[in-house]
């Protein structure tokens, strides 16, 4: 397969698009021709938006959510309850939970899950930063919202080990979600049930 380098600009765009998740050769061609025919401002707007997320989005200094400044919009919001921290594996899970409108607290993004099979260890995640947040003393409750699958369970067990000896109350989302399910794809109703039914560990 050609990597597109050295080919014409249209072929190059098709090759780049094909690398996106869920885009096959056919779709890549369709999108490329669409861009080719679309007004210049529209196409440049797309290119600029892509450049902006790479240049201006970085992890929040407190919770590792995607942020445009030092802190993400949630950590920067004084109306959010900083005493309630919902721990998720990745920003996509945060977006799903945030969509329920039920979370009055803040988040902590682990940037992954412990995976014994893939060699992802607890120290590869942002667990130490979470412990630092707890050590500062204003966290009351930590809700573990890792996925209800083996890796999410292993991550939750490591988190409990890391939080042992602190005064903070640790709860976990209820198992309303099917085993093996992923928070990212759960519907709003399932997430509401899971959050309302959270239980102490």
């Amino acid at each position: 397969m050609s990597d597109g380098r050295g080919a014409g600009p249209l072929q190059r765009l098709i090759e780049e698009l094909k690398r996106l998740p869920g885009i096959g050769a056919r779709s890549a061609e369709r999108i490329a021709f669409h861009v080719l025919k679309s007004p210049r401002e529209e196409a440049i707007g797309l290119a600029q938006a892509i450049r902006d997320i790479k240049d201006n989005i970085r992890p929040c200094a407190r919770c590792f959510n995607l942020a445009e400044g030092e802190l993400c919009h949630i950590c920067a919001d004084p109306r959010r309850d900083a005493g309630l921290v919902v721990v998720v594996e990745q920003p996509k899970d945060l977006i799903s939970l945030e969509a329920t409108g039920l979370i009055t607290g803040v988040y902590h993004v682990l940037m992954g899950a412990v995976s014994p099979l893939d060699g992802v260890r607890p120290q590869d995640l942002t667990i130490a930063a979470l412990r630092d947040r707890v050590a500062k003393g204003d966290v009351r409750e930590i809700v573990l919202a890792t996925n209800p699958n083996l890796e999410g369970d292993a991550t939750a067990l490591h988190l409990m080990e890391a939080l042992e000896g602190t005064a903070v109350k640790v709860t976990r989302l209820a198992r309303g979600l099917a085993p093996g399910a992923q928070i990212e794809y759960a519907n709003r109703h399932m997430l509401e049930e899971a959050f309302r039914g959270r239980h102490a560990l």
């Binding site: 998740p21 014994p116 060699g119 083996l150 085993p179 399910a181 794809y185």
Partner: protein, 249 residues
């Protein structure tokens, strides 16, 4: 190839696309099967009840790929057990993961080992027992039993009764060593002529039962597996830590 029905254990799961996953099963009658499972990620489809996760046992309908032809197809998965108590204890999670990882690393597709499937299912079942929880030693003992069975099935079980080179019985060997490339125990003289060997823990060298020194047995089998596979298992370090093995790696 046509669709078949079998029981299987999920050894590996990786995302393939927004909606699909690649599932590696150890099946009882068809060995290791790498299958494409369409639609398992997004919702709980009836065909995949109730979802699909690592270390689950289930009934399955699938089509194997032809040898050297990539992925087969997973058509149905009906979970029979997810071993919930394994998931509530890290030592058990790592023991179970160690077992699946070792299985994956030493077996190939299109090579059925029903006895190996039974041994893995038995291990998961035992790790999942309710009531009195397994002690860390208990977890290690179960894992050592499984690894021994695995090595026997795939033909790599080391010989521990006598020096594998000169045949000197182990009772007559002082300061015994173990060599993975030679496949077992060595006396000091034979070890001197073998490039690869390590001290055999005392309990292992005198033929002590697994129950007497589970950590020592795990350590020696882990050393052996590492050389058979050509790399350490990813779950190895954590598992040795839980077992309380003296980490000589």
């Amino acid at each position: 190839m046509s669709f078949v029905i079998d029981v299987g254990i999920v050894l590996r799961l990786s995302d393939y696309s927004e909606t699909s996953q690649i599932v590696t099963l150890l099946t009882r009658g068809h060995g290791v099967a790498r299958l494409l499972a369409k639609g398992t990620r997004r919702t709980t489809k009836d065909r995949f009840m109730p979802g699909l996760d690592l270390l689950e046992l289930g009934e399955t309908r699938f089509k194997l790929a032809r040898p050297d032809a990539g992925l087969g197809t997973l058509a149905e998965w009906k979970q029979q057990s997810a071993y919930p108590r394994i998931r509530s204890d890290l030592a058990r999670v790592y023991a179970a993961t160690y077992a699946t990882e070792a299985t994956l690393a030493t077996t190939t597709e299109h090579d059925p080992h029903p006895a190996l499937f039974d041994a893995l299912a038995a291990l998961l079942q035992t790790l999942d027992i309710a009531g009195e929880p397994l002690t860390p030693d208990g977890v290690t003992i179960e894992l050592v039993r499984f690894v021994s069975e695995l090595l026997r099935e795939v033909g790599f079980m080391p010989t521990m009764r006598a020096c594998v080179v000169c045949g000197k019985p182990r009772t007559a060997i002082a300061n015994a060593r173990f060599s993975s490339s030679r496949g077992g125990l060595l006396c000091v003289a034979c070890a001197a002529e073998t490039p690869e060997s390590r001290p055999a823990p005392e309990a292992v060298a005198r033929g002590g039962r697994v129950g007497e020194a589970p950590a020592a047995w795990l350590e020696i089998l882990d050393y052996h597996l590492t050389r058979v596979i050509g790399r350490p298992l990813r779950a190895s370090r954590q598992m040795l830590r839980f077992a309380g093995a003296a980490d000589k790696m």
